[in-house]
């Protein structure tokens, strides 16, 4: 199997009347609060760490941006193993926000990125247990010169406290957003959870509280059991479901939220190909993060970026910006 097997796109090219082509660079560029991106594709948080090892495979400057692994105030060791399990066209993870902690990220990881890829915008994923944790990390990390935006992770299903609690209650989500907004030097994106009855009140609440943008979706809560051991495969019991399996849920939620708020959305959930990325943009996203696909194909991000112009041609879309405008909701 080649990685192109992963491509569900329509093979019937319809580019008999190619749209007027912009210079390739301009065709892919997108502009979001804090983020002037040469293309809309970035690795999703937790699926790319801090990029160092992927930098051995390709030039990270090809990326629109990087969403780095969740940063917490203190170093975290995460959950017991096994931490990953496979599912049909998806995977479960219960990493549990393992990360080296704010100090190491500020002192080593971000500087390494700044030195080696000075023009690469970083979106810092911030997590915590209490509001104070979140605020402390936002304040510090937003001062790093290459951090251009913060992604507030209020939707991690794999930690006992913080995480999902903030993400399912509009009031708590709004309060946390306001507190972090007050201290952050850079635009603040709130990462929404799909594990709710209605996502719109939460989106509206964080919008009212000052969020600059939204990122969605985080993982769905799932579980797999091992018939041999009669135990869950993940030591944590449940985990977060990601990958192509959840793409229809991501499209639906992005579409729903896009109908009710003007906040820009960075979409994610099951993107494996350029067509998938465009589907999320058509649903209402202004940029797209790629998570699980990095594991299936470590070159997923540059591959998708390289595929984009051709797929834009195929669907007669002159630029990403055009597609974003086309799908804008008139209010």
């Amino acid at each position: 199997m080649t990685t192109s097997n992963h491509d569900h796109q329509n093979h019937q090219a319809t580019n008999e009347h190619p749209a007027h082509h912009l210079a390739s660079a301009d065709r892919l560029a997108v502009h979001l609060p804090g983020l002037d991106l040469k293309n809309p594709i970035m690795p999703a948080s937790g699926c790319f760490g801090f990029g160092q090892h992927y930098a051995e495979l390709y030039d990270l400057n090809q990326l629109g941006a990087i969403m780095i692994k969740a940063a917490t105030n203190e170093p975290r060791l995460g959950n017991p193993t096994p931490r990953v399990a496979e599912t049909a066209s998806g995977m479960l993870n219960a990493i549990g926000l393992q990360n080296p902690g704010l100090e190491a990220i500020m002192g080593e990881k971000l500087p390494w990125l700044a030195t080696n890829f000075p023009d690469l915008p970083i979106i810092a994923n911030v997590a915590g247990t209490t509001e104070a944790d979140y605020v402390a990390v936002c304040q510090r990390i937003s001062q790093a010169p290459n951090v251009k935006a913060i992604e507030l992770n209020i939707s991690c299903p794999n930690v006992a406290h913080g995480g999902l609690e903030f993400g399912t209650d509009p009031k708590m989500a709004a309060a946390l957003t306001a507190a972090c907004r007050a201290v952050s030097q850079v635009p603040l994106y709130i990462k929404l959870s799909p594990n709710v009855t209605d996502i719109r009140p939460i989106a509206l609440a964080v919008a009212a509280a000052g969020a600059d943008g939204l990122t969605m979706i985080n993982t769905l809560v799932g579980m797999r059991l091992d018939l041999r051991t009669r135990q869950p495969i993940l030591a944590n019991g449940t985990g977060g479901l990601s990958g192509p399996a959840i793409k229809p849920v991501a499209v639906r939620l992005i579409h729903q939220v896009h109908q009710v708020t003007d906040l820009p959305i960075i979409g994610m959930g099951g993107v494996m190909t350029a067509s998938d990325a465009l589907e999320l943009i058509m649903a209402g996203a202004s940029a797209v993060a790629v998570g699980t696909a990095n594991f299936a194909d470590p070159q997923a991000c540059p591959r998708i970026i390289n595929e984009l112009p051709q797929v834009l041609d195929q669907y007669q879309i002159s630029s990403i910006q055009q597609l974003i405008q086309e799908t804008a909701v008139v209010r």
Partner: protein, 262 residues
């Protein structure tokens, strides 16, 4: 580390459920340390995670590398259906292999392998053999019919075999064989290398914790395989307060005895 489409040169069934797979590509010409591994995309597009496999043999001249794997689940079952000429996406070399720089020709080394733990040991054995190291291999399987690469290891030096049911060699697990036949291992061997199921690794870890050059190759469920997702961690042995973990994929898969908590 590179990612490439490698071509299946041949695939060959060795036992009921163990296959030998030879792949061709530029990766086989890179510098490798035995014990390093690859991540293979298996030919079932529902399965997103790559499968890690040790490299059993390298042939840089032909540009080929050999994997040995056992069909234990959906991924390896799909892999066993792949045919010569088909291409597989492969990422490698990954991780850190077995240290051996300290070994001088004429010294003795012990290879301890169980089941599908033996592939990286064979690559190591071939290299050490070439460097003039005196090799002894202790290999264990459940039963005779599961044995593979017996002749290959025999060609590298002394070979002691163990089976749970005594159908080949020593009857009992490898730990007992070590106690019975290699009571002097700690002093006799300048290096001890082990790879296999956790029980085997624990046996070796317990016996040679203080050996200056005893190494274990670990397995772990992986996602990225390159050190960026934290899926594959193992706690450090020192870690009484649970303050340190190693990533098996890039900080391992080889660790010194006493280094990790099994």
């Amino acid at each position: 580390m590179i990612q490439e489409q490698m071509t299946i040169v041949r695939q060959h069934q060795l036992t009921d459920d163990v296959y030998e797979l030879v792949l061709a590509g530029a990766m086989a010409r890179l510098p490798w340390t035995p014990g390093q591994f690859v991540e293979v995309q298996v030919p079932d597009p529902r399965l997103l995670l790559r499968r890690p496999f040790g490299v059993a043999a390298l042939d840089p001249a032909q540009g080929q590398l050999t994997l040995l794997y056992k069909t234990v689940g959906a991924g390896t079952a799909a892999l066993s259906q792949a045919r010569p000429g088909e291409k597989l996406a492969v990422l490698g070399p990954l991780g850190h292999g077995f240290p051996s720089d300290f070994l001088q020709a004429g010294k003795q080394a012990l290879l301890i392998g169980g089941g599908t733990g033996i592939p990286p040991l064979y690559a190591l054995g071939r290299q050490l053999h070439q460097q003039g190291i005196q090799l002894t291999s202790a290999l264990g399987f459940a039963t005779k019919s599961q044995f593979f690469y017996q002749a290959e290891f025999a060609a590298l030096g002394d070979l002691a075999c163990a089976t749970n049911d005594g159908s080949l060699g020593f009857r009992g697990h490898l730990g007992l064989l070590l106690d019975t036949q290699f009571a002097d291992a700690q002093t006799r061997f300048a290096a001890i290398y082990a790879c296999g199921p956790t029980g085997l690794l624990m046996a070796v870890n317990n016996r040679y914790r203080d050996h200056p050059h005893a190494y274990l190759s670990l397995e772990s469920r992986m996602a990225c395989g390159v050190g960026e997702c934290y899926a594959c961690v193992v706690p450090a042995a020192s870690d009484t307060a649970a303050t340190a973990v190693y990533k098996v994929c890039d900080e391992g898969p080889v660790f010194a005895t006493g280094e990790v908590k099994l």
